[in-house]
C-alpha cells in the first residue's frame, strides 16, 4: 500500500513551504539569495505538478496518506485529473509571474524583498494545498493561509487605497471562510468525518436531512463569497486593483479559479450529482445568478476608466461563466466550466501581465494614457491584443472554445438566458477591448504628451513572459479538443445528462 503513495504529491506543497522559511531566514542573512531560492522552489513544485499530471493520466487517481494514517483517521491527499490540471495551472502561472515580477518588486519594495518572496511562496503553498487536499478541514486551513498572504500582499499595494481595500477584503473573506467552516461543522455533526470521500459515502444516507442542506448552502455561500460571485463580489474590484503589480498579477487569475475548483470539488465529489440536481433544486437559481453576474460584470467594466479596474470587473463576469457552466447540470456545461478554468486562468494572467507592463512604463493606467500605445510598446500591445481577443472569444484563441462548450451546454440545458448572457458578454468584451485598441492605434487627444516621449517598451523579461503566455493562449485553443478528451471528459461524473 505504501508504494502507491506518490512522493511528488507532498513535494509539490512542502517544497515552497520549506523554502519560504529559508527565504525568510536569508532575508536576514544575505538578500541576494532570496529571489533565486524562490524561483527554485516554485520550479520544483511546477515540475512535481507536471509529474503528477502525467502519472494521473497514466495510472489514475493518486493517494497520499500524510503521517501514514489511513484516510478517515489521518489526512489524505487525493489527486484526480481535476486537481492535477489545476495544480499545473497554478504552479505555471506563479512561476511565470515570478520571472516577470523581478523588476516590479525591486522597484516597489526594495528593503523588504526577502520577506515578500517568502509571503509569495506561502501564497503559492496555500493555493496548491487547497487544490491538492482531500480533507475538508485541511482545505479550510490552507484557504486561510492563502487568504492571509493575499490580504497582506494587497495591503502592501497602493498606499492610499490598498490597506482599506485589503481590510474590507479581510472582513468579507473571514465571513466567507467562517461560513465554509460552519458548513463543515454541520457536516461533521451529522457524519462525524472530515475526509471528503468518506463524507461523500456517508452523505448518501442523509440526502433529505435539513442539516446537510444547511451545510451545503453555507459551504456554497462561503465559497461564492471567496470567489466573488455576483452579489458577493463587492470586495474584489478594489482589492485586485490596488494590489502591488507583482501580487495582483498572480492573485487575480488564481484565487478565483482555485475557488471555482473548490466549488466544483464540493459539488461533484462531496455532495454528488444526485444531491445537486435531484434533491436540492437551486441549480436554476444559481444559473440565473451567474447570468446576471456575467452581464453586470460586463456593464461595470464598460463604465470603468482604469484598465486594472476594468479587468477586475471582467473577472467578475468570467466567474459567472464558470459557475453557470458548472450548475447547468450537463456534461457539456461542466466541460465548458472546467475548460474555462484552464483558459481563463491564462487569459486573465496575460491581461494582467500586459497591464503590469503598461503600469511599469505609464504609471497611471487611465485609458487616456493608452493613446498611440501601439507605436510605443508594440510587443506588449500585441500580447494584450491576443489576450483581449481570447476574452472576447475569437477563434482560434482558447477563449472561443470554452465559450463554445458553455454555449452548447446552455442550449442543451435550455438555459436560454444564460445563452444570451454569454453572447452579450462577448459583444460587450468586444467593445471594451476595441475601445482600447482604437485608442492605441490613433493618437487621440494626446492627454499624455508630457510622458509620451519617454515611454518605451517594457523590460525584456516581462515581454518574454507575456509573449509566452499569449502564444500559449493560441496553442491552448488549437489543442482544446485534446485537452477536453484527455483531462476533462474522464473526470466528468457518470449520470450527468
Amino acid at each position: 500500500m505504501m508504494t502507491t503513495d506518490n512522493v511528488f504529491a507532498v513535494l509539490l506543497v512542502v517544497t515552497p513551504l520549506v523554502c519560504a522559511f529559508f527565504v525568510m531566514g536569508l532575508h536576514w542573512v544575505d538578500r541576494r539569495w532570496c529571489y533565486p531560492l524562490a524561483v527554485i522552489a516554485n520550479g520544483i513544485s511546477f515540475i512535481s505538478a507536471v509529474e503528477i499530471l502525467i502519472s494521473v493520466v497514466k495510472h489514475g487517481t493518486i493517494h497520499y496518506r500524510l503521517g501514514g494514517w489511513r484516510p478517515p483517521i489521518g489526512i489524505e491527499y487525493r489527486i484526480d485529473l481535476l486537481n492535477a490540471v489545476v495544480l499545473v495551472i497554478v504552479s505555471t502561472v506563479a512561476l511565470v509571474n515570478l520571472f516577470a515580477s523581478y523588476n516590479d518588486i525591486s522597484r516597489e519594495l526594495p528593503e523588504k524583498k526577502g520577506t515578500f518572496y517568502s509571503l509569495y511562496l506561502l501564497f503559492l503553498t496555500g493555493l496548491l494545498g487547497v487544490v491538492v487536499t482531500g480533507d475538508l478541514f485541511n482545505l479550510y486551513v490552507l484557504l486561510e493561509i492563502t487568504s492571509l498572504s493575499a490580504y497582506s500582499q494587497i495591503a502592501l499595494g497602493d498606499v492610499r487605497r490598498g490597506p482599506f481595500a485589503s481590510l474590507n477584503y479581510i472582513f468579507i473573506g473571514v465571513i466567507g471562510a467562517s461560513f465554509y467552516l460552519l458548513g463543515v461543522g454541520y457536516i461533521y455533526i451529522m457524519t462525524g468525518s472530515l475526509n471528503m470521500a468518506d463524507v461523500a459515502h456517508l452523505l448518501t444516507r442523509l440526502h433529505y436531512s435539513q442539516a446537510i442542506f444547511v451545510a451545503f448552502i453555507f459551504c456554497m455561500v462561503g465559497v461564492w463569497i471567496k470567489m466573488a460571485l455576483f452579489p458577493l463580489h463587492i470586495w474584489l474590484p478594489n482589492a485586485y486593483t490596488y494590489a502591488p503589480t507583482a501580487s495582483g498579477r498572480v492573485i487575480a487569475p488564481l484565487m478565483t479559479k482555485v475557488m471555482v475548483y473548490v466549488m466544483i470539488r464540493l459539488m461533484f465529489t462531496v455532495f454528488g450529482i444526485t444531491y445537486l440536481f435531484k434533491v436540492v433544486h437551486i441549480s436554476q437559481f444559481v444559473v440565473w445568478l451567474a447570468s446576471v453576474a456575467i452581464i453586470y460584470g460586463g456593464l461595470m467594466a464598460l463604465s470603468q476608466n482604469n484598465l486594472k479596474k476594468m479587468l477586475t470587473y471582467i473577472i467578475v463576469s468570467e466567474i459567472g461563466y464558470m459557475v453557470g457552466g458548472a450548475w447547468l447540470g450537463n456534461k457539456l456545461g461542466l466541460t465548458g466550466a472546467i475548460l474555462h478554468i484552464i483558459n481563463d486562468a491564462f487569459m486573465t494572467f496575460a491581461l494582467f501581465l500586459a497591464a503590469g507592463n503598461f503600469a511599469y512604463r505609464l504609471g497611471e493606467l487611465t485609458l487616456d494614457n493608452f493613446n498611440d500605445i501601439f507605436s510605443k510598446m508594440p510587443w506588449t500591445m500585441a500580447g494584450f491584443v491576443v489576450a483581449g481577443l481570447s476574452i472576447i472569444g475569437v477563434p482560434p484563441t482558447c477563449g472561443f472554445f470554452s465559450k463554445w462548450y458553455l454555449l452548447l451546454g446552455a442550449f442543451a440545458a435550455r438555459q436560454y438566458f444564460f445563452f444570451v448572457a454569454l453572447i452579450l458578454s462577448s459583444l460587450v468584451n468586444a467593445i471594451l477591448f476595441f475601445r482600447i485598441f482604437e485608442k492605441g492605434l490613433f493618437g487621440g487627444g494626446g492627454h499624455h504628451v508630457s510622458v509620451r516621449g519617454e515611454i518605451q517598451e517594457a523590460p525584456v523579461n516581462m515581454i518574454i513572459c507575456l509573449g509566452l503566455i499569449s502564444v500559449g493562449l493560441v496553442v491552448l485553443g488549437l489543442y482544446a479538443g485534446d485537452i477536453v478528451n484527455t483531462f476533462i471528459i474522464p473526470f466528468i461524473p457518470q449520470g450527468l445528462g
Binding site: M2, D5, V7, V10, V14, L17, V18, F21, F22, M24, G25, H27, W28, R65, L66, G67, G68, W69, P72, I73, G74, I75, L109, E111, K112, T115, F116, L119, L122, T125, G129, D135, F137, N138, V141, L142, I145, L148, S149, Y151, S152, A155, L156, P163, L182, I189, M190, T191, G192, S193, L194, L202, S209, Q210, A211, F213, V214, A215, I217, F218
Partner: protein
C-alpha cells in the same frame, strides 16, 4: 447598511437554527460525531503513539499536517505584520512629545529627563535619546516583573515539554513564553525588550520553529516513510517506532513553541510601535 446587516444576520440565524432540529442533543454520547472517527483516537492513541493526551496525539500526529499549516498561518501573520508595518529608519513626522522637547533617559536609573530647549545635547554613555512617547517609570511594576518573568518562562518550558501527558503543548507554551517577553516590553520599554531579543533573531527563530516541524516531516520522508510519519524516526533514534512517534511529537511541539513565541513578539513589537521599534506603548 444597518438594515441590510440586520436582515442578513436574521436570515442566517434562522437558517442555522432551523437545522439544529436534527442535531443530537448536547452531550449525547451516541452522536455520529463521537461514533465515527473519534473512537479510534481514544482507543488507540496510547497503543499507536504512546501519548496519553489524545488532543496532543491527534494534533501532532494523526492530523499533524493540519498543525504544520496552523503554525505556518502564525508564521504568515508575523511575516505580514513585519511587511506591513515595519518602517526602516526614523519616519519624518515627529510625535507631539518630540516637538515639545528632547527626552533623554539616564540608563542606570532609567529616569527620563526632558529638555525644553532644543539646543541641549548630551553625549554620554549613560544617556540615550528617547525619540517618542514618554514612558511612565514605575519601580514596583519593574521589580515585580523582574521577579516574575523567569518563572513564567520556566512554566512555559514545562508546558511545552509536558504536553504529551497533561494539557498543554507547543502553542500554549510558546504563547506563555512570548507573553513573558511582552510583559518585559510593557513593564520596561520596548527598546530594552528588543535589546534582549532583537528583530533579526526573532525573524530567524520564527522561520526556524516552523522549519523544525517541516524538517522532521522531511526526515521521515528521507527515512523512507510518508511525510510526517514519525514511526520512521525509530531507525535513527534508540527507541521503538511507537515511542519514536511520541518523540517526534515532542520535537514538533518544540518547533511550534519556538515559532509561536517568536511570532507573538514580532506581532507585538510591530503593532505596539507602529513598526518604528521605538519606545512602544
Amino acid at each position: 447598511m444597518k438594515k441590510l446587516g440586520l436582515f442578513v444576520t436574521i436570515i442566517c440565524g434562522a437558517i442555522l437554527l432551523y437545522a439544529t432540529g436534527e442535531f443530537p442533543r448536547w452531550g449525547e454520547v451516541r452522536s455520529p460525531a463521537s461514533l465515527h472517527v473519534s473512537p479510534h483516537y481514544i482507543k488507540y492513541s496510547v497503543e499507536e503513539t504512546d501519548v496519553p493526551n489524545i488532543v496532543t496525539s491527534v494534533l501532532a500526529d494523526y492530523r499533524g499536517f493540519d498543525t504544520m499549516f496552523e503554525t505556518t498561518v502564525i508564521f504568515c501573520a508575523g511575516l505580514a505584520c513585519f511587511l506591513l508595518l515595519r518602517v526602516f529608519g526614523r519616519d519624518d513626522e515627529l510625535t507631539p512629545e518630540e516637538e515639545k522637547g528632547i527626552f533623554y533617559r539616564h540608563l542606570p536609573t532609567g529616569i527620563v529627563i526632558q529638555f525644553k530647549k532644543e539646543d541641549v545635547e548630551i553625549r554620554h554613555k549613560d544617556f540615550e535619546v528617547v525619540d517618542s512617547k514618554l514612558v511612565p517609570y514605575d519601580l514596583i511594576i519593574k521589580t515585580a516583573c523582574r521577579v516574575l518573568i523567569p518563572f513564567i518562562q520556566l512554566f512555559a518550558l514545562y508546558v511545552v515539554a509536558h504536553g504529551d501527558f497533561s494539557p498543554g503543548g507547543g502553542f500554549q507554551g510558546g504563547v506563555i513564553f512570548g507573553a513573558s517577553i511582552i510583559l518585559l516590553a510593557i513593564a520596561f520599554n520596548l527598546r530594552s525588550a528588543i535589546e534582549k531579543i532583537n528583530e533579526k533573531l526573532l525573524g530567524i527563530l520564527s522561520a526556524l520553529g516552523v522549519f523544525i516541524y517541516a524538517g522532521i516531516g522531511w526526515l521521515c520522508l528521507l527515512l523512507g516513510g510518508n511525510f510526517l510519519d514519525y514511526g520512521r524516526l525509530a531507525s535513527i533514534l534508540p527507541v521503538d517506532p511507537i515511542r519514536a512517534r511520541a518523540l517526534g511529537m515532542l520535537g514538533v511541539e518544540i518547533g511550534v513553541g519556538i515559532a509561536v513565541m517568536a511570532v507573538m513578539i514580532i506581532i507585538y513589537i510591530n503593532i505596539a510601535s507602529a513598526g518604528r521599534h521605538d519606545e512602544g506603548l
